[in-house]
């Protein structure tokens, strides 16, 4: 045996749980492609229509396409955290997968933590994919405030995943989890500016939007993209969602 690498058996249980989750996620091929592929398809469509790619004075000289990239990032965040995660976790509960884990030393915090890690990894891959397609395919510049962008993206992903974990915790069944996730998805995406960008919203909606996790996420990502450090209020909003939903999810978590 080689003494160089850490033996696989020594990997902490939380990492193994997270890797197993990722493996299972990738094995659901149809869903996998839909979840990761749809934002990319939308990106390609937007990028191919001149209406979206021309610079606009109303957007400070940027194109709609540029405005939409952070929104598409938010979109993938929402799809993964609000529909995929709660359904999978609630399904585990329905099938007694969690109950079985409860009889082992794995523990609730590790099981939940592993979900968080696994879905953070999925989100990271999606964001990198979106950035790569936007940059290589359509020559869009990369985020200029890199550190700010990474902080914003991590907080946004953490917040959304914790909302998803909370949905999983309160849903009695997998179907209920899916229903709640879907019902939440559209209003949250509305406030993220999917239908019309936040800057052109009436001020009352704009304020409301900044208080929602995806609205705050899109604003923070956009700021970082254009070279500014994201507004602390938006980062705080995201952190508040992360902590509040995370704690509530851990507290309300049920094995059965």
């Amino acid at each position: 045996m080689s003494a160089t690498a850490v033996p696989a058996a020594r990997r902490p249980a939380i990492v193994r749980l997270a890797l197993t989750e990722l493996r299972l996620f990738a094995r659901e091929r149809a869903r996998f492609v839909a979840r990761l592929g749809l934002p990319i398809v939308l990106l390609v469509i937007f990028g191919s229509i001149p209406f979206y790619t021309q610079a606009r004075r109303s957007l400070h000289g940027h194109s709609l396409f540029q405005a939409y990239v952070p929104i598409l990032i938010a979109y993938s965040l929402a799809i993964i955290s609000l529909t995929a995660l709660p359904m999978v976790l609630a399904d585990y509960r329905d099938k007694g997968v969690l109950r079985r884990l409860q009889t082992t030393p794995a523990g609730a915090s590790r099981v939940i933590g592993a979900q968080l890690l696994a879905y953070l990894a999925v989100v990271a891959v999606t964001v990198v994919l979106i950035l790569a397609v936007a940059r290589i395919g359509y020559g869009m510049f990369l985020p200029r405030q890199v550190a700010g962008f990474i902080v914003a993206a991590l907080l946004a992903a953490g917040a959304l995943i914790c909302v998803g974990l909370l949905i999983a915790a309160v849903s009695p069944t997998a179907q209920a989890a899916q229903a709640i996730g879907t019902v939440l998805f559209f209003p949250l995406m509305f406030f993220a500016g999917l239908f019309f960008p936040i800057p052109v919203m009436p001020s009352f909606l704009r304020h409301l939007s900044h208080a929602t996790p995806l609205g705050a996420a899109v604003q923070a990502l956009q700021d970082a993209w254009l070279g500014h450090w994201p507004h602390p209020l938006q980062l705080l909003t995201l952190a508040a969602y992360l902590v509040a939903c995370g704690l509530a999810a851990a507290r309300l978590f049920r094995w059965k």
């Binding site: 193994r16 099938k95 030393p105």
Partner: protein, 307 residues
């Protein structure tokens, strides 16, 4: 010998139904201890309290010197549990599940060896959803043993298995016990309890009705023997009911069924011989655990239900 599991006056109610009223028993090291009872008797609730999955309302439980509810984290290292209706993700492979679960424990068993032992070696790359019911059940047992526990609690071990798979599983459990693991077996199969268990606790309506060896439970019954035969000529019941050894005589078609104490056979055959009656197709049955079950719980047992 010190008790590995000690349950004293366990009581547990859900809202307004009392699942477990007052249950006490203890399990010695290396024993296969059966918990037997009709549906809704409180078997599963009892073992869930032992596993630390539920907090008792009253009473005390000690498992390997630990309080299962308060010291659950430590207990899970030493107690393996196989639950009813507990699946795995459909796309998780057998080998992956075993490797993952073994990583949770301080001193795991060799999961490859376990996979071999349970006859799953050729299924290592098969996904859970594609396994047969019996294979899923065997994987479930393997996962209960992967932490090399000192105690294994197996709930409805062989429900849903075909007779051959059931017998294979029994052999396996005997093998596990031979390695020094104490086993608690919740079952509703009399045959399973008779074959495997050193002692059985018979539970009914949340209480322990009797604790004994399966043979001891059967012997404790009034009706020690049941004798069946056909006769060449019609039989006058009085001939047999007058015998002190006989407790009852009934007719099932042309079959005569006589129950009585352990000396009944001798008395009945002598009486028949004295009267020149030939008994054909004579069969003698000792009272079984099933008879004890019916006698003690006053219920007929339904083999197809689960509790």
């Amino acid at each position: 010998m010190t008790a590995v599991i000690d349950v004293q006056h366990l009581h547990k109610a859900y809202k307004d139904t009392v699942a477990v009223d007052d249950i006490s028993f203890s399990v010695a090291a290396g024993e296969i201890f059966g918990i037997l009872g009709p549906n809704g008797a409180g078997k599963t609730t009892t073992v869930e309290c032992i596993e630390g999955l539920r907090a008792p309302d009253r009473g005390t439980i000690t498992v390997l010197g630990l309080d299962p509810w308060r010291e659950r984290a430590e207990l899970t290292q030493r107690l393996g549990a196989q639950l009813q209706d507990s699946r795995l993700p459909d796309r998780l492979r057998v080998g992956e599940a075993l490797e993952l679960y073994s990583s949770f424990y301080r001193t795991p068993a060799d999961w490859r060896e376990l996979m071999e032992l349970l006859g799953l070696a050729d299924k290592q790359r098969t996904m859970f959803g594609q396994l047969s019911g019996g294979q899923q059940q065997r994987l479930s047992i393997a996962l209960a043993l992967v932490g090399s526990p000192r105690v294994a609690v197996l709930d409805e071990l062989t429900t849903g298995l075909d007779p051959q798979a059931r017998r294979d599983t029994w052999e396996l459990i005997e093998g596990v016990r031979a390695r020094g693991v104490t086993i608690v077996l919740v079952t509703h199969f009399m045959e399973e309890a008779e074959r495997l268990c050193d002692r059985v606790a018979l539970i009914d309506a949340g209480r322990v009705v009797a604790v004994d060896t399966p043979a001891g439970l059967a012997e404790g019954l009034q009706a020690g023997q049941r004798i069946q035969f056909r006769t060449s000529v019609p039989l006058d019941d009085a001939l047999l009911t007058s015998l002190p050894e006989v407790t009852s005589v009934i007719h099932r078609g042309d079959v005569v069924v006589v129950t009585g104490n352990d000396n009944a056979l001798n008395a009945v055959t002598s009486a028949l011989a004295r009267n020149q009656i030939v008994a054909r197709q004579l069969r003698v049955e000792q009272a079984s655990l099933e008879d004890a079950f019916v006698a003690l719980t006053g219920r007929h047992h339904d083999n197809d239900d689960r509790s």
